[in-house]
Protein backbone atom coordinates (compact mmCIF):
# COMPACT_ATOMS: atom_id res chain seq x y z
CA UNK A 1 0.00 0.00 0.00
CA UNK A 2 2.82 2.32 0.98
CA UNK A 3 4.58 1.49 -2.27
CA UNK A 4 1.44 2.18 -4.32
CA UNK A 5 1.03 5.51 -2.59
CA UNK A 6 4.63 6.35 -3.42
CA UNK A 7 4.02 5.38 -7.07
CA UNK A 8 0.88 7.50 -7.13
CA UNK A 9 2.64 10.55 -5.73
CA UNK A 10 5.74 10.06 -7.87
CA UNK A 11 3.68 9.71 -11.04
CA UNK A 12 1.59 12.72 -10.03
CA UNK A 13 4.72 14.78 -9.54
CA UNK A 14 6.12 13.59 -12.89
CA UNK A 15 2.85 14.39 -14.64
CA UNK A 16 2.82 17.85 -13.13
CA UNK A 17 6.40 18.52 -14.25
CA UNK A 18 5.56 17.41 -17.79
CA UNK A 19 2.43 19.50 -17.86
CA UNK A 20 3.70 22.63 -16.27
CA UNK A 21 7.46 23.13 -16.33
CA UNK A 22 7.75 24.01 -20.02
CA UNK A 23 6.82 27.61 -19.34
CA UNK A 24 6.41 30.04 -16.47
CA UNK A 25 3.41 29.66 -14.16
CA UNK A 26 1.57 32.73 -15.47
CA UNK A 27 1.64 31.58 -19.08
CA UNK A 28 0.70 28.11 -17.95
CA UNK A 29 -2.38 29.43 -16.16
CA UNK A 30 -3.45 31.40 -19.22
CA UNK A 31 -2.94 28.32 -21.35
CA UNK A 32 -4.90 26.13 -18.95
CA UNK A 33 -7.84 28.51 -18.91
CA UNK A 34 -7.90 29.74 -22.54
CA UNK A 35 -8.78 26.36 -23.98
CA UNK A 36 -11.84 25.51 -21.88
CA UNK A 37 -13.17 29.06 -21.86
CA UNK A 38 -12.92 29.18 -25.65
CA UNK A 39 -14.74 25.87 -25.91
CA UNK A 40 -17.49 27.26 -23.69
CA UNK A 41 -17.65 30.45 -25.74
CA UNK A 42 -18.24 28.47 -28.94
CA UNK A 43 -21.47 27.21 -27.41
CA UNK A 44 -22.33 30.64 -26.05
CA UNK A 45 -22.01 32.13 -29.52
CA UNK A 46 -24.02 29.33 -31.09
CA UNK A 47 -26.69 30.03 -28.50
CA UNK A 48 -26.63 33.77 -29.12
CA UNK A 49 -26.71 33.33 -32.90
CA UNK A 50 -29.88 31.24 -32.76
CA UNK A 51 -31.68 32.59 -29.69
CA UNK A 52 -30.45 36.17 -29.62
CA UNK A 53 -28.99 36.10 -26.11
CA UNK A 54 -28.21 33.89 -23.13
CA UNK A 55 -31.17 35.25 -21.18
CA UNK A 56 -33.59 33.60 -23.60
CA UNK A 57 -34.62 30.18 -22.28
CA UNK A 58 -32.09 30.65 -19.47
CA UNK A 59 -32.73 27.19 -17.98
CA UNK A 60 -31.67 25.61 -21.26
CA UNK A 61 -28.61 27.83 -21.37
CA UNK A 62 -27.59 26.83 -17.85
CA UNK A 63 -28.11 23.17 -18.81
CA UNK A 64 -25.78 23.51 -21.80
CA UNK A 65 -23.19 25.65 -20.05
CA UNK A 66 -22.87 23.53 -16.92
CA UNK A 67 -22.75 20.28 -18.89
CA UNK A 68 -19.98 21.67 -21.04
CA UNK A 69 -18.06 23.03 -18.03
CA UNK A 70 -17.96 19.66 -16.24
CA UNK A 71 -17.20 17.88 -19.49
CA UNK A 72 -13.75 19.50 -19.30
CA UNK A 73 -12.93 16.76 -16.79
CA UNK A 74 -13.91 14.09 -19.29
CA UNK A 75 -11.75 15.50 -22.08
CA UNK A 76 -8.75 16.17 -19.86
CA UNK A 77 -8.74 12.91 -17.95
CA UNK A 78 -9.35 10.66 -20.95
CA UNK A 79 -6.85 12.56 -23.04
CA UNK A 80 -4.33 12.67 -20.23
CA UNK A 81 -4.42 8.98 -19.51
CA UNK A 82 -4.13 7.81 -23.09
CA UNK A 83 -1.48 10.40 -23.83
CA UNK A 84 0.64 8.89 -21.05
CA UNK A 85 1.05 5.79 -23.20
CA UNK A 86 1.90 7.62 -26.42
CA UNK A 87 4.15 10.18 -24.77
CA UNK A 88 6.07 7.69 -22.64
CA UNK A 89 6.33 5.16 -25.45
CA UNK A 90 7.25 7.36 -28.41
CA UNK A 91 8.58 10.62 -27.09
CA UNK A 92 10.46 9.94 -23.89
CA UNK A 93 10.72 6.21 -24.67
CA UNK A 94 10.42 5.42 -20.98
CA UNK A 95 7.29 3.29 -21.15
CA UNK A 96 9.29 0.06 -21.29
CA UNK A 97 11.36 1.12 -18.29
CA UNK A 98 8.32 1.94 -16.20
CA UNK A 99 6.59 -1.18 -17.44
CA UNK A 100 9.36 -3.50 -16.26
CA UNK A 101 9.75 -1.78 -12.90
CA UNK A 102 8.07 -3.45 -9.91
CA UNK A 103 5.49 -0.65 -9.43
CA UNK A 104 1.80 -1.01 -10.20
CA UNK A 105 1.15 0.38 -13.66
CA UNK A 106 -2.43 1.25 -12.64
CA UNK A 107 -1.20 3.51 -9.87
CA UNK A 108 1.32 5.04 -12.22
CA UNK A 109 -1.43 5.93 -14.71
CA UNK A 110 -3.73 7.19 -11.96
CA UNK A 111 -0.91 9.35 -10.62
CA UNK A 112 -0.26 10.81 -14.05
CA UNK A 113 -4.00 11.41 -14.46
CA UNK A 114 -3.97 13.20 -11.08
CA UNK A 115 -2.05 16.14 -12.50
CA UNK A 116 -4.60 16.36 -15.33
CA UNK A 117 -7.47 16.39 -12.81
CA UNK A 118 -5.77 19.22 -10.96
CA UNK A 119 -5.40 21.31 -14.12
CA UNK A 120 -8.94 20.42 -15.22
CA UNK A 121 -10.27 21.54 -11.83
CA UNK A 122 -8.78 25.00 -12.33
CA UNK A 123 -10.30 25.15 -15.82
CA UNK A 124 -13.72 23.98 -14.58
CA UNK A 125 -13.73 26.51 -11.74
CA UNK A 126 -12.72 29.37 -14.05
CA UNK A 127 -15.36 28.37 -16.61
CA UNK A 128 -18.02 28.18 -13.90
CA UNK A 129 -17.03 31.56 -12.48
CA UNK A 130 -17.19 33.01 -16.00
CA UNK A 131 -20.68 31.54 -16.43
CA UNK A 132 -21.89 32.74 -13.04
CA UNK A 133 -20.47 36.25 -12.99
CA UNK A 134 -20.36 37.20 -16.68
CA UNK A 135 -23.21 35.21 -18.17
CA UNK A 136 -25.46 35.28 -15.13
CA UNK A 137 -26.03 31.60 -14.44
CA UNK A 138 -27.80 31.70 -11.06
CA UNK A 139 -25.57 29.35 -9.04
CA UNK A 140 -25.73 30.24 -5.37
CA UNK A 141 -23.28 28.81 -2.83
CA UNK A 142 -25.98 28.89 -0.13
CA UNK A 143 -28.56 26.91 -2.06
CA UNK A 144 -26.19 24.44 -3.71
CA UNK A 145 -26.35 20.78 -2.74
CA UNK A 146 -22.77 20.43 -1.53
CA UNK A 147 -23.12 16.84 -0.38
CA UNK A 148 -24.35 15.72 -3.81
CA UNK A 149 -21.57 17.72 -5.47
CA UNK A 150 -18.74 16.22 -3.42
CA UNK A 151 -20.12 12.68 -3.57
CA UNK A 152 -20.77 12.66 -7.30
CA UNK A 153 -17.59 14.50 -8.15
CA UNK A 154 -15.58 11.82 -6.35
CA UNK A 155 -17.45 8.91 -7.91
CA UNK A 156 -17.32 10.64 -11.31
CA UNK A 157 -13.55 11.13 -11.15
CA UNK A 158 -13.01 7.49 -10.20
CA UNK A 159 -15.21 6.46 -13.08
CA UNK A 160 -13.38 8.69 -15.58
CA UNK A 161 -9.99 7.39 -14.49
CA UNK A 162 -11.31 3.82 -14.93
CA UNK A 163 -12.43 4.58 -18.46
CA UNK A 164 -9.07 6.24 -19.07
CA UNK A 165 -7.30 3.06 -17.98
CA UNK A 166 -9.33 1.06 -20.49
CA UNK A 167 -8.34 3.49 -23.22
CA UNK A 168 -4.72 3.24 -22.11
CA UNK A 169 -4.98 -0.53 -22.65
CA UNK A 170 -6.28 0.04 -26.17
CA UNK A 171 -3.61 2.69 -26.81
CA UNK A 172 -0.91 0.08 -26.14
CA UNK A 173 -2.00 -1.47 -29.41
CA UNK A 174 -2.44 1.61 -31.57
CA UNK A 175 -0.13 3.80 -33.60
CA UNK A 176 0.31 7.48 -32.90
CA UNK A 177 -1.83 9.38 -35.36
CA UNK A 178 -2.66 13.08 -35.22
CA UNK A 179 -5.87 12.40 -33.32
CA UNK A 180 -6.52 9.51 -31.07
CA UNK A 181 -8.92 7.28 -29.32
CA UNK A 182 -9.19 9.77 -26.45
CA UNK A 183 -10.53 12.42 -28.80
CA UNK A 184 -12.97 9.94 -30.27
CA UNK A 185 -14.25 8.52 -27.00
CA UNK A 186 -14.62 12.01 -25.59
CA UNK A 187 -16.60 12.82 -28.74
CA UNK A 188 -18.75 9.74 -28.17
CA UNK A 189 -19.58 10.89 -24.66
CA UNK A 190 -20.15 14.45 -25.92
CA UNK A 191 -22.87 13.18 -28.25
CA UNK A 192 -24.53 10.50 -26.19
CA UNK A 193 -24.33 11.70 -22.58
CA UNK A 194 -26.52 14.80 -22.64
CA UNK A 195 -23.62 17.20 -22.31
CA UNK A 196 -24.76 20.13 -24.43
CA UNK A 197 -28.25 19.03 -25.41
CA UNK A 198 -30.77 16.70 -23.78
CA UNK A 199 -30.40 13.10 -24.87
CA UNK A 200 -34.04 13.16 -25.90
CA UNK A 201 -32.78 14.89 -29.07
CA UNK A 202 -31.12 11.61 -30.03
CA UNK A 203 -32.78 8.74 -31.84
CA UNK A 204 -34.06 5.97 -29.54
CA UNK A 205 -30.94 3.78 -29.91
CA UNK A 206 -28.76 6.78 -29.09
CA UNK A 207 -30.79 7.48 -25.96
CA UNK A 208 -30.39 3.87 -24.83
CA UNK A 209 -26.64 4.15 -25.31
CA UNK A 210 -26.62 7.38 -23.31
CA UNK A 211 -28.46 5.73 -20.41
CA UNK A 212 -25.79 3.02 -20.28
CA UNK A 213 -22.91 5.45 -19.78
CA UNK A 214 -22.22 6.76 -16.25
CA UNK A 215 -21.14 10.18 -17.57
CA UNK A 216 -24.82 10.87 -18.38
CA UNK A 217 -25.86 10.48 -14.73
CA UNK A 218 -22.77 12.21 -13.48
CA UNK A 219 -23.42 15.39 -15.50
CA UNK A 220 -27.07 15.43 -14.49
CA UNK A 221 -26.03 15.08 -10.83
CA UNK A 222 -23.57 17.95 -11.19
CA UNK A 223 -26.29 20.18 -12.61
CA UNK A 224 -28.65 19.18 -9.81
CA UNK A 225 -26.00 19.91 -7.22
CA UNK A 226 -25.28 23.38 -8.56
CA UNK A 227 -28.81 24.41 -9.51
CA UNK A 228 -31.17 22.31 -7.40
CA UNK A 229 -34.14 24.58 -8.06
CA UNK A 230 -33.72 25.15 -11.77
CA UNK A 231 -33.91 21.93 -13.70
CA UNK A 232 -34.63 21.67 -17.41
CA UNK A 233 -37.59 19.51 -18.34
CA UNK A 234 -37.60 16.92 -21.09
CA UNK A 235 -33.99 15.86 -20.63
CA UNK A 236 -34.82 12.22 -20.10
CA UNK A 237 -33.49 12.32 -16.56
CA UNK A 238 -35.69 15.08 -15.20
CA UNK A 239 -37.61 14.05 -12.13
CA UNK A 240 -35.26 11.27 -11.02
CA UNK A 241 -34.66 11.48 -7.27
CA UNK A 242 -31.14 12.31 -6.17
CA UNK A 243 -30.82 8.96 -4.44
CA UNK A 244 -31.61 7.04 -7.60
CA UNK A 245 -29.39 9.29 -9.65
CA UNK A 246 -26.44 8.57 -7.36
CA UNK A 247 -27.33 4.87 -7.34
CA UNK A 248 -27.44 4.75 -11.13
CA UNK A 249 -24.13 6.59 -11.28
CA UNK A 250 -22.52 4.24 -8.76
CA UNK A 251 -23.77 1.05 -10.43
CA UNK A 252 -22.78 2.11 -13.93
CA UNK A 253 -19.43 3.38 -12.65
CA UNK A 254 -18.77 0.04 -10.95
CA UNK A 255 -19.63 -1.80 -14.14
CA UNK A 256 -17.29 0.43 -16.12
CA UNK A 257 -14.57 -0.08 -13.53
CA UNK A 258 -14.55 -3.85 -14.01
CA UNK A 259 -14.90 -3.49 -17.77
CA UNK A 260 -11.92 -1.12 -17.81
CA UNK A 261 -9.68 -3.46 -15.86
CA UNK A 262 -10.62 -6.21 -18.27
CA UNK A 263 -9.92 -4.10 -21.34
CA UNK A 264 -6.63 -2.85 -19.92
CA UNK A 265 -5.42 -6.35 -19.15
CA UNK A 266 -6.45 -7.57 -22.57
CA UNK A 267 -4.73 -4.61 -24.30
CA UNK A 268 -1.63 -5.15 -22.18
CA UNK A 269 -1.53 -8.86 -23.01
CA UNK A 270 -2.11 -8.37 -26.73
CA UNK A 271 0.49 -5.60 -26.91
CA UNK A 272 3.08 -7.80 -25.24
CA UNK A 273 2.22 -10.68 -27.51
CA UNK A 274 2.56 -8.44 -30.57
CA UNK A 275 5.75 -6.81 -29.22
CA UNK A 276 4.19 -3.36 -29.20
CA UNK A 277 5.15 -2.17 -25.71
CA UNK A 278 8.12 -0.18 -26.99
CA UNK A 279 7.16 0.44 -30.62
CA UNK A 280 7.52 3.83 -32.25
CA UNK A 281 5.05 4.67 -34.95
CA UNK A 282 5.38 8.36 -35.80
CA UNK A 283 5.42 9.06 -39.52
Amino acid sequence: MKENLRTLLGAGWLGWQMEANWTDPFLFMIYSVAKPVSAALILVFMYIVILGGVATESTAFAYIFLGNAFFIYVGQVLFGVTWVIHEDREHFQTLKLIYISPISFYYYIIGRAGSKILIATVAVVVTLLFGIFILGIPVDAFTMDWALLVLCLTVGMACLVSIGIALAGITFMTAKHSGGINEGIAGLFYVFCGVVFPITQLPAWGQSLGYAIPVTYWLEAMRKALLPAQQLEGTGLHGIENFWLVALLAVSALFFYFLSILIFRLGDYLARRAGKIDMTTAY
Binding site: A39, I42, G179, A282, Y283
Partner: protein, 282 residues
Amino acid sequence: MKEYLLLNLRALKGRAYPRVVGGTRELSWIFFDTILPLLTVAAYVFVYQYLGSLAQGPQKEYIGQFVGYVILGGAMTAYWMNVLWSMAAQFYWEKEIGNLQLYMIAPMSRMAVLGGMAVGGMFYTTVRAVSTIVIGVLIFGVTFSLGPPIYLILVFLLTLIALYGMGMLFASLYMLYGREAWHTSSLLTEPIYLVSGFYFPVKYMGAIVAVSASIIPITLGLDALRQLMFTETAGIHGFLPVEVELVALAVLSVLFLFLARHSLRFMENLGRKTGRLTMRWQ
Protein backbone atom coordinates in the same frame (compact mmCIF):
# COMPACT_ATOMS: atom_id res chain seq x y z
CA MET B 1 18.80 25.34 -61.52
CA LYS B 2 17.16 22.34 -63.16
CA GLU B 3 19.20 20.06 -60.96
CA TYR B 4 18.13 21.93 -57.82
CA LEU B 5 14.49 21.77 -58.87
CA LEU B 6 14.77 18.04 -59.50
CA LEU B 7 16.47 17.56 -56.13
CA ASN B 8 13.63 19.32 -54.35
CA LEU B 9 10.92 17.52 -56.27
CA ARG B 10 12.52 14.23 -55.35
CA ALA B 11 12.83 15.33 -51.73
CA LEU B 12 9.15 16.29 -51.73
CA LYS B 13 8.19 12.92 -53.13
CA GLY B 14 10.47 11.18 -50.64
CA ARG B 15 8.92 12.87 -47.61
CA ALA B 16 5.36 12.49 -48.86
CA TYR B 17 5.86 8.76 -49.22
CA PRO B 18 5.85 7.76 -45.52
CA ARG B 19 2.71 9.83 -44.99
CA VAL B 20 0.88 8.07 -47.78
CA VAL B 21 2.03 4.52 -47.01
CA GLY B 22 1.78 5.24 -43.27
CA GLY B 23 -1.90 5.75 -43.79
CA THR B 24 -2.25 2.43 -45.55
CA ARG B 25 -0.13 0.44 -43.09
CA GLU B 26 -1.63 1.65 -39.83
CA LEU B 27 -5.26 1.48 -40.77
CA SER B 28 -6.37 2.36 -37.26
CA TRP B 29 -6.27 6.02 -38.39
CA ILE B 30 -9.47 5.48 -40.37
CA PHE B 31 -11.24 4.81 -37.11
CA PHE B 32 -9.40 7.34 -34.94
CA ASP B 33 -8.94 10.20 -37.37
CA THR B 34 -12.07 9.83 -39.44
CA ILE B 35 -14.96 8.13 -37.70
CA LEU B 36 -14.43 9.23 -34.10
CA PRO B 37 -13.92 12.97 -34.75
CA LEU B 38 -17.24 12.96 -36.59
CA LEU B 39 -18.89 12.53 -33.21
CA THR B 40 -17.92 16.01 -32.06
CA VAL B 41 -19.34 17.41 -35.28
CA ALA B 42 -22.52 15.41 -34.68
CA ALA B 43 -22.78 16.88 -31.17
CA TYR B 44 -22.76 20.42 -32.57
CA VAL B 45 -25.40 19.41 -35.12
CA PHE B 46 -27.63 18.19 -32.28
CA VAL B 47 -27.03 21.43 -30.40
CA TYR B 48 -28.29 23.43 -33.39
CA GLN B 49 -31.28 21.14 -33.76
CA TYR B 50 -32.04 21.54 -30.06
CA LEU B 51 -31.62 25.33 -30.22
CA GLY B 52 -33.81 25.33 -33.32
CA SER B 53 -36.56 23.66 -31.31
CA LEU B 54 -36.36 26.50 -28.78
CA ALA B 55 -36.05 29.35 -31.30
CA GLN B 56 -38.93 31.63 -32.21
CA GLY B 57 -37.25 34.20 -34.42
CA PRO B 58 -36.06 34.23 -38.05
CA GLN B 59 -33.04 32.00 -37.37
CA LYS B 60 -35.38 29.03 -36.80
CA GLU B 61 -35.85 28.62 -40.55
CA TYR B 62 -32.10 28.61 -41.15
CA ILE B 63 -31.31 25.72 -38.80
CA GLY B 64 -30.72 23.44 -41.80
CA GLN B 65 -28.06 25.85 -43.05
CA PHE B 66 -26.44 26.09 -39.62
CA VAL B 67 -26.22 22.31 -39.54
CA GLY B 68 -24.53 22.51 -42.94
CA TYR B 69 -22.12 25.15 -41.60
CA VAL B 70 -21.15 22.81 -38.76
CA ILE B 71 -20.57 19.93 -41.18
CA LEU B 72 -18.37 22.13 -43.36
CA GLY B 73 -16.56 23.46 -40.29
CA GLY B 74 -16.01 19.88 -39.14
CA ALA B 75 -14.58 18.98 -42.54
CA MET B 76 -12.17 21.90 -42.45
CA THR B 77 -11.24 21.03 -38.85
CA ALA B 78 -9.45 18.02 -40.31
CA TYR B 79 -7.10 20.31 -42.24
CA TRP B 80 -6.54 22.59 -39.28
CA MET B 81 -5.68 19.61 -37.07
CA ASN B 82 -3.37 18.27 -39.76
CA VAL B 83 -1.60 21.61 -40.05
CA LEU B 84 -1.20 21.93 -36.27
CA TRP B 85 -0.15 18.40 -35.41
CA SER B 86 1.38 17.00 -38.57
CA MET B 87 2.98 20.14 -39.98
CA ALA B 88 3.68 22.71 -37.28
CA ALA B 89 4.63 20.25 -34.56
CA GLN B 90 6.24 17.74 -36.91
CA PHE B 91 9.78 19.12 -36.83
CA TYR B 92 9.59 18.85 -33.08
CA TRP B 93 8.73 15.15 -33.41
CA GLU B 94 11.40 14.69 -36.04
CA LYS B 95 13.93 16.20 -33.67
CA GLU B 96 12.87 13.86 -30.89
CA ILE B 97 13.18 10.74 -33.04
CA GLY B 98 16.53 11.85 -34.50
CA ASN B 99 15.47 12.66 -38.05
CA LEU B 100 15.68 16.45 -37.97
CA GLN B 101 19.48 16.48 -37.94
CA LEU B 102 19.51 14.22 -40.99
CA TYR B 103 17.17 16.59 -42.81
CA MET B 104 19.35 19.51 -41.82
CA ILE B 105 22.57 18.06 -43.21
CA ALA B 106 20.91 17.12 -46.51
CA PRO B 107 21.22 19.52 -49.44
CA MET B 108 17.52 19.90 -50.28
CA SER B 109 15.38 22.89 -49.36
CA ARG B 110 13.54 22.53 -46.06
CA MET B 111 10.46 23.76 -47.90
CA ALA B 112 10.59 20.59 -50.00
CA VAL B 113 10.48 18.42 -46.85
CA LEU B 114 7.59 20.41 -45.45
CA GLY B 115 5.90 20.36 -48.85
CA GLY B 116 6.21 16.56 -48.83
CA MET B 117 4.65 16.39 -45.39
CA ALA B 118 1.83 18.64 -46.56
CA VAL B 119 1.10 16.69 -49.73
CA GLY B 120 1.26 13.36 -47.92
CA GLY B 121 -0.86 14.66 -45.05
CA MET B 122 -3.48 16.07 -47.37
CA PHE B 123 -4.20 12.56 -48.59
CA TYR B 124 -5.74 11.18 -45.44
CA THR B 125 -6.95 14.57 -44.26
CA THR B 126 -9.03 14.82 -47.39
CA VAL B 127 -10.48 11.40 -46.65
CA ARG B 128 -11.52 12.67 -43.20
CA ALA B 129 -12.95 15.88 -44.62
CA VAL B 130 -14.87 14.14 -47.37
CA SER B 131 -16.25 11.52 -44.99
CA THR B 132 -17.51 14.29 -42.70
CA ILE B 133 -19.39 15.88 -45.59
CA VAL B 134 -20.75 12.57 -46.88
CA ILE B 135 -22.01 11.60 -43.43
CA GLY B 136 -23.47 15.09 -43.03
CA VAL B 137 -25.42 14.62 -46.21
CA LEU B 138 -26.48 11.04 -45.49
CA ILE B 139 -27.33 11.26 -41.80
CA PHE B 140 -28.29 14.87 -41.23
CA GLY B 141 -29.77 15.53 -44.65
CA VAL B 142 -27.68 18.58 -45.44
CA THR B 143 -28.54 20.05 -48.82
CA PHE B 144 -26.25 22.39 -50.68
CA SER B 145 -27.06 25.21 -53.06
CA LEU B 146 -23.77 25.56 -54.86
CA GLY B 147 -22.25 28.69 -56.37
CA PRO B 148 -19.86 28.84 -59.35
CA PRO B 149 -17.67 25.69 -59.26
CA ILE B 150 -14.60 27.59 -60.42
CA TYR B 151 -14.86 29.86 -57.38
CA LEU B 152 -15.39 26.86 -55.16
CA ILE B 153 -12.27 25.13 -56.46
CA LEU B 154 -10.20 28.32 -56.30
CA VAL B 155 -11.26 29.11 -52.74
CA PHE B 156 -10.57 25.56 -51.60
CA LEU B 157 -7.14 25.39 -53.23
CA LEU B 158 -6.06 28.83 -52.06
CA THR B 159 -7.27 28.06 -48.54
CA LEU B 160 -5.17 24.91 -48.48
CA ILE B 161 -2.09 26.65 -49.93
CA ALA B 162 -2.34 29.51 -47.44
CA LEU B 163 -3.12 27.14 -44.58
CA TYR B 164 -0.23 24.78 -45.27
CA GLY B 165 2.00 27.80 -45.88
CA MET B 166 1.06 28.89 -42.38
CA GLY B 167 1.83 25.36 -41.19
CA MET B 168 5.30 25.65 -42.72
CA LEU B 169 5.81 28.97 -40.98
CA PHE B 170 4.73 27.41 -37.68
CA ALA B 171 7.03 24.44 -38.31
CA SER B 172 9.97 26.79 -38.59
CA LEU B 173 9.00 28.58 -35.40
CA TYR B 174 8.45 25.29 -33.57
CA MET B 175 11.77 23.90 -34.76
CA LEU B 176 13.59 24.97 -31.63
CA TYR B 177 10.73 24.12 -29.29
CA GLY B 178 10.63 21.30 -26.82
CA ARG B 179 7.30 20.47 -25.22
CA GLU B 180 6.18 24.03 -25.95
CA ALA B 181 5.48 22.82 -29.49
CA TRP B 182 2.91 20.34 -28.31
CA HIS B 183 1.29 22.80 -25.95
CA THR B 184 1.23 25.60 -28.51
CA SER B 185 -0.59 23.38 -30.97
CA SER B 186 -2.96 22.37 -28.23
CA LEU B 187 -3.57 26.03 -27.40
CA LEU B 188 -4.34 26.80 -31.02
CA THR B 189 -7.26 24.37 -31.07
CA GLU B 190 -10.38 25.59 -29.25
CA PRO B 191 -9.53 29.32 -29.31
CA ILE B 192 -9.10 29.11 -33.10
CA TYR B 193 -12.31 27.09 -33.48
CA LEU B 194 -13.96 30.00 -31.71
CA VAL B 195 -12.48 33.03 -33.46
CA SER B 196 -12.36 31.46 -36.93
CA GLY B 197 -16.01 30.48 -36.76
CA PHE B 198 -15.66 26.73 -37.25
CA TYR B 199 -19.15 26.11 -35.85
CA PHE B 200 -20.98 29.35 -36.62
CA PRO B 201 -20.53 32.12 -39.18
CA VAL B 202 -17.55 34.28 -38.23
CA LYS B 203 -19.64 37.38 -38.91
CA TYR B 204 -21.25 36.90 -35.49
CA MET B 205 -17.92 37.40 -33.73
CA GLY B 206 -18.06 41.07 -34.71
CA ALA B 207 -16.02 42.87 -37.36
CA ILE B 208 -12.90 43.46 -35.25
CA VAL B 209 -12.52 39.83 -34.16
CA ALA B 210 -13.45 38.53 -37.62
CA VAL B 211 -10.89 40.76 -39.37
CA SER B 212 -8.22 39.87 -36.82
CA ALA B 213 -8.99 36.16 -37.16
CA SER B 214 -8.69 36.47 -40.93
CA ILE B 215 -4.92 36.18 -40.59
CA ILE B 216 -5.69 32.47 -40.14
CA PRO B 217 -6.55 31.43 -43.70
CA ILE B 218 -9.24 29.02 -42.63
CA THR B 219 -11.37 31.90 -41.33
CA LEU B 220 -11.90 33.46 -44.74
CA GLY B 221 -11.67 30.12 -46.53
CA LEU B 222 -14.44 28.64 -44.46
CA ASP B 223 -16.60 31.74 -44.77
CA ALA B 224 -16.18 31.79 -48.53
CA LEU B 225 -16.85 28.06 -48.84
CA ARG B 226 -20.03 28.44 -46.78
CA GLN B 227 -21.17 31.28 -49.03
CA LEU B 228 -20.42 29.20 -52.12
CA MET B 229 -22.04 26.01 -50.84
CA PHE B 230 -25.09 27.65 -49.26
CA THR B 231 -25.77 30.48 -51.68
CA GLU B 232 -29.31 31.11 -50.36
CA THR B 233 -27.99 32.43 -47.05
CA ALA B 234 -24.69 33.84 -48.32
CA GLY B 235 -25.94 37.41 -48.09
CA ILE B 236 -27.24 36.93 -44.55
CA HIS B 237 -24.44 34.96 -42.90
CA GLY B 238 -21.42 35.81 -45.07
CA PHE B 239 -18.72 38.05 -43.64
CA LEU B 240 -17.12 39.60 -46.76
CA PRO B 241 -17.90 39.21 -50.49
CA VAL B 242 -16.38 36.00 -51.85
CA GLU B 243 -14.25 37.91 -54.36
CA VAL B 244 -12.63 39.90 -51.57
CA GLU B 245 -12.00 36.73 -49.58
CA LEU B 246 -10.49 35.11 -52.65
CA VAL B 247 -8.03 37.96 -53.11
CA ALA B 248 -7.20 37.95 -49.40
CA LEU B 249 -6.53 34.20 -49.53
CA ALA B 250 -4.23 34.67 -52.52
CA VAL B 251 -2.32 37.36 -50.61
CA LEU B 252 -2.11 35.13 -47.52
CA SER B 253 -0.83 32.23 -49.64
CA VAL B 254 2.04 34.28 -51.01
CA LEU B 255 2.71 35.91 -47.66
CA PHE B 256 2.89 32.68 -45.67
CA LEU B 257 5.05 30.85 -48.20
CA PHE B 258 7.40 33.82 -48.33
CA LEU B 259 7.54 34.15 -44.54
CA ALA B 260 7.95 30.40 -44.09
CA ARG B 261 10.94 30.32 -46.44
CA HIS B 262 12.72 33.13 -44.65
CA SER B 263 11.70 32.02 -41.22
CA LEU B 264 13.01 28.52 -41.86
CA ARG B 265 16.39 29.91 -42.76
CA PHE B 266 16.41 32.29 -39.81
CA MET B 267 15.32 29.68 -37.27
CA GLU B 268 17.74 27.12 -38.63
CA ASN B 269 20.59 29.58 -38.13
CA LEU B 270 19.34 30.46 -34.69
CA GLY B 271 19.17 26.76 -33.87
CA ARG B 272 22.74 26.26 -35.08
CA LYS B 273 23.83 29.17 -32.95
CA THR B 274 22.12 28.08 -29.76
CA GLY B 275 22.57 24.36 -30.28
CA ARG B 276 18.84 23.69 -29.97
CA LEU B 277 18.52 22.20 -33.42
CA THR B 278 19.63 18.83 -32.12
CA MET B 279 18.70 19.17 -28.46
CA ARG B 280 16.25 16.45 -27.46
CA TRP B 281 13.96 15.65 -24.55
CA GLN B 282 13.43 19.31 -23.75
